[in-house]
C-alpha cells in the first residue's frame, strides 16, 4: 500500500498556513475610513470621537484577522497546499491526468478559501471576488470542514489509484569495482 508522505504534507500545511498569514499581513492596509474598516471587521468603537483610527498597524491586522475568523481560512489554505504537494508526490504512480486534476482541485479549494478572506477586496480586482460573493453566506468553519473532507477524499483516492497502478521497480544501479 502506498505510504502517505505525512512529513512532506505537514510541512506543506505549515508553509501554506504561514504563507497565507504573511500574505494577509503584507496586503493589510490600515483603514482610512469607516467604510474601509467595516470590510475587515472594524467597528465604530475602533475610531476615536474625532474619527482617528485607534490601533497600531500590527494590532489592527491581528484584530481584523481574529474578528474575521481568518484562522479558518489559514487552515483551509494549509490543507489545500498540503494536498497539492501530496498529489505531485504520488503523481507518477497515480497517473498524470488524475494528478493534474487533483492538483488543480486543491488549488481551486485554496482559491475558494482566499475568496472569502480579507484579501477579497484585492482579489476582486482580478475578478476572483465573484467566488467570494457566492461563498459569502457560508461560514468559514464549514468551508474548512469541506476542504478537509475533499482533500481527505483526494488523498484516499489518489493513494488507492497509486496502489492500483504500481510502477515497476527501478533497475538496480550498476556497481563498479575499482
Amino acid at each position: 500500500m502506498t505510504t502517505i508522505p505525512t512529513r512532506a504534507m505537514a510541512l506543506s500545511f505549515l508553509g501554506g498556513a504561514l504563507g497565507y498569514m504573511a500574505l494577509s499581513y503584507l496586503t493589510f492596509k490600515v483603514p482610512a475610513t469607516a467604510e474601509e474598516a467595516e470590510l475587515c471587521g472594524f467597528v465604530d468603537g475602533d475610531f476615536s470621537a474625532s474619527g482617528q483610527f485607534l490601533h497600531a498597524p500590527l494590532d489592527a491586522w491581528w484584530i481584523s484577522f481574529t474578528r474575521l475568523q481568518e484562522y479558518w481560512t489559514t487552515i483551509s489554505v494549509g490543507l489545500a497546499v498540503a494536498f497539492v504537494v501530496f498529489a505531485l508526490i504520488v503523481g507518477r504512480r497515480a497517473g498524470g491526468r488524475t494528478v493534474a486534476g487533483g492538483a488543480i482541485g486543491g488549488g481551486a479549494l485554496a482559491l475558494s478559501a482566499l475568496c472569502v478572506s480579507c484579501l477579497a477586496p484585492a482579489l476582486s480586482v482580478v475578478g476572483l471576488g465573484i467566488a467570494g460573493t457566492l461563498l459569502a453566506g457560508v461560514p468559514k468553519w464549514l468551508i474548512t470542514v469541506n476542504i478537509l473532507l475533499l482533500t481527505g477524499w483526494g488523498v484516499l483516492f489518489l493513494s488507492r489509484r497509486a496502489d492500483a497502478c504500481p510502477l515497476p521497480a527501478r533497475p538496480p544501479q550498476s556497481v563498479t569495482a575499482s
Binding site: G41, D46, S48, A49, R67, P139, L142, V145, L149
Partner: protein, 524 residues
C-alpha cells in the same frame, strides 16, 4: 448544616437593612442613668450637655450618600491641599469640597432636594481654637478664634443592622456582625454629619455581649462620643443612651487688631468701640479687659488664670480666657506664655462673625450652615447646604453660596442628563459630567478628608465605575471589547445558495470518504 459565620452575618445585615430606623424615647428608658466618662478620674467633662435639640442637616444618614456620583478632583477656583498657617508655624492643608446627593430628573428638569447641595470646607487635620489658624471662607481667609461645643445625649436609640442614626453632629452606623462559633461581635462606625470618618483616629467601637474576653462589653467611649447598649443582635443595636458632640458655633474674625504683650491702659479702636486693658495682675495670672462703646463700658471681664492642663478643649478653662462683644473678640493667649515683664499676652480681633449649627448662612440666605465637630473639641470644617429645593432646567445654572461655584445643566434627554458641569467662580469648567447612562447630577468634588477619603468607602466603587463608563463613551471605545459585529459573522444569512452548495459539498465529501474507506476494507 453549618453556615460560614461571615455568610450568616452578611445575611443578617441584608435582612435587617430593610427595616425602618427607630429613634424613640419611651419613659422606661429614661430611667437608665447616663454616665459620660471623662478621660481619667477627676477630669471634668470638657463640653456642656446640650439642652436643646437642633435638627442635623438633611440627608446626613449613610443611606443618603450620593448615588453613582460624578467625581471631580478640583478646579482652580476650588483649591485642594491649600496650606494655610497659624500663629505657631503649623501649616494645615485645606480642601474645598462639593457634594450633590439625592438629585433626580423630573419632567425634564434636574431637581436637587433641600440639603442635597453641599459646600464643605474640608480640612485634613482638626482646626484648633486660640491658635490663629486660618480657615478658607469661600475664597477668603478668616481666623478661627473660639467655639461652643455641646454633648448631645439621646436615650433609647435603636439602629437596625446596616442603618444609621444622627446624634448631635455625629452619625452612628451599625456596620457589621462577625460571628465566631455561637458568639458574635458587632461593629459601630462613627462619622460626622459631613462624612468625616473617625475610624482613622479612634478605630470603630465593637460591642459584644458574648465575646466578653475580647471586647469591652456593651459600652464604648470615643472621647465624648459614648454609648451604652442594652441589646445587640444581628438585627439591631438598642442603646440605653448614645452621646455625640455637636459644634454649636465657631467664631471667626476677618481683622486682627492686636497680637502681643499689653499693659494696663493699652487700648485699640474697632469702629465706635474701644478695647482697653484695665489691669494686669501677673501674679494672680489675670488681666482685666474693658470694651467701651460710645464712651460707656459695655463689657468688663477678667481673663485667666490659665489652666494649661485642661486647655484648649475644656469649655470652662477656655472661656475663662476669652472675651467677646459683638464683632470684637479676644483672648489671653496661653502660648508661648500668658504673661511676661508684667504684661499680658493678648490677641484681639474685629469683624468677628459666628457660624452657628443650623442657622441661615449670613453671606447667602439660601444656605444653612453647620460647623463639623470632632469629639476632641477640634473643628473639622463647615457645611453650607441649600435650604430649599433647587430646580434646574436645561440651559440654566444655579450658583453655590456667594456664587463660589456654579452647577450648569446643558442638555436633558428624557430621564438622562446628557450634559452638565460644575464651574468655579472664575469660569473654569469641569469636563462634561453627563452622558447616556447618567440620570442625576450627584457629585463628589474634592480631595479632602471626606471627599478624598472617607466617602470613598461608601460610594467609591460606584464613582469609579461611573468615571470609567463615561471615559469609554467620551473616547468612543465603549463597544470595542464586546462589539465585534463583523462582516464575516454577520454575512451568514440562513440557507443562502452558497450555504446550500456548501452543505451539498459536505454531504458529497462525507459520502466520498465513506466510499473510499469501504473499498479499502473490502480489499483487505
Amino acid at each position: 448544616m453549618r453556615h460560614h459565620p461571615f455568610a450568616r452575618a452578611a445575611a443578617a445585615i441584608l435582612i435587617a437593612a430593610a427595616a425602618p430606623i427607630c429613634v424613640t424615647a419611651p419613659a422606661a428608658a429614661d430611667d437608665a442613668p447616663v454616665v459620660l466618662r471623662p478621660a481619667k478620674p477627676g477630669m471634668p467633662l470638657a463640653h456642656p450637655i446640650a439642652t436643646n435639640d437642633i435638627p442635623p442637616p438633611p440627608l446626613s444618614l449613610i443611606a443618603d450618600r450620593p448615588v453613582r456620583p460624578a467625581y471631580v478632583p478640583g478646579l482652580p477656583g476650588l483649591p485642594q491641599n491649600r496650606m494655610v498657617t497659624d500663629d505657631f508655624g503649623r501649616k494645615p492643608p485645606k480642601f474645598d469640597a462639593i457634594f450633590i446627593r439625592k438629585s433626580r430628573v423630573e419632567n425634564g428638569v434636574v431637581v436637587i432636594p433641600a440639603g442635597g447641595l453641599v459646600y464643605h470646607e474640608d480640612t485634613w487635620g482638626g482646626e484648633v481654637a486660640l491658635r490663629g489658624e486660618q480657615i478658607p471662607m469661600l475664597g477668603r481667609l478668616s481666623t478661627y478664634v473660639d467655639y461652643d461645643m455641646t454633648t448631645v445625649i439621646k436615650k433609647d436609640v435603636t439602629i437596625p443592622a446596616g442603618q444609621s442614626v444622627v446624634v448631635g453632629g455625629q452619625v452612628y452606623q451599625y456596620y457589621a456582625t462577625v460571628v465566631h462559633n455561637k458568639t458574635a461581635n458587632h461593629t459601630l462606625h462613627v462619622k460626622t454629619i459631613a462624612g468625616t470618618d473617625w475610624e482613622w483616629a479612634f478605630g470603630s467601637p465593637v460591642l459584644s455581649p458574648t465575646q466578653t474576653g475580647w471586647w469591652s462589653g456593651m459600652q464604648f467611649a470615643q472621647l465624648y462620643n459614648q454609648g451604652k447598649a442594652r441589646e445587640v443582635t444581628r438585627e439591631k443595636m438598642v442603646f440605653d443612651w448614645l452621646s455625640g458632640v455637636r459644634m454649636d458655633r465657631i467664631v471667626l474674625a476677618d481683622e486682627k487688631l492686636y497680637a502681643g504683650l499689653a499693659g494696663a491702659g493699652d487700648e485699640w479702636k474697632a469702629g465706635n468701640r474701644t478695647v482697653k486693658v484695665a489691669t494686669v495682675d501677673a501674679t494672680a495670672g489675670t488681666v482685666s479687659i474693658e470694651v467701651i462703646e460710645d464712651g460707656k463700658p459695655v463689657l468688663t471681664k477678667t481673663l485667666g488664670p490659665v489652666r494649661n492642663e485642661l486647655l484648649i478643649e475644656d469649655n470652662d478653662a477656655r472661656k475663662a480666657l476669652v472675651f467677646e462683644h459683638g464683632d470684637v473678640i479676644g483672648f489671653l493667649s496661653p502660648w508661648p506664655e500668658p504673661f511676661k515683664d508684667g504684661k499680658a499676652n493678648l490677641k484681639i480681633y474685629a469683624k468677628a462673625f459666628s457660624l452657628r449649627y443650623g442657622d441661615t448662612y449670613a453671606g447667602d440666605t439660601r444656605f444653612a450652615v453647620y460647623p463639623v465637630g470632632c469629639p476632641t473639641g477640634h473643628n473639622f470644617g463647615f457645611m453650607l447646604t441649600n435650604k430649599e429645593e433647587i430646580r434646574i432646567k436645561p440651559g440654566e445654572t444655579v450658583k453655590g453660596p456667594e456664587g463660589y461655584f456654579t452647577i450648569a445643566v446643558e442638555r436633558i434627554d428624557g430621564d438622562t442628563v446628557m450634559a452638565w458641569h460644575v464651574a468655579d467662580r472664575q469660569g473654569n469648567r469641569s469636563v462634561n459630567l453627563g452622558g447616556p447612562t447618567i440620570t442625576n447630577v450627584d457629585l463628589v468634588l474634592g480631595q479632602g478628608r471626606v471627599a478624598g477619603q472617607a466617602i470613598l468607602k461608601d460610594v467609591g466603587r460606584q464613582m469609579l465605575e461611573r468615571t470609567y463608563t463615561n471615559m469609554q463613551q467620551a473616547t468612543g471605545t465603549a463597544a470595542s471589547a464586546a462589539s465585534p459585529t463583523v462582516r464575516a459573522a454577520a454575512a451568514g444569512s440562513f440557507l443562502s445558495p452558497g450555504l446550500l452548495a456548501a452543505l451539498g459539498v459536505f454531504g458529497l465529501g462525507v459520502g466520498a470518504i465513506g466510499y473510499e474507506i469501504g473499498r479499502r476494507r473490502k480489499s483487505l
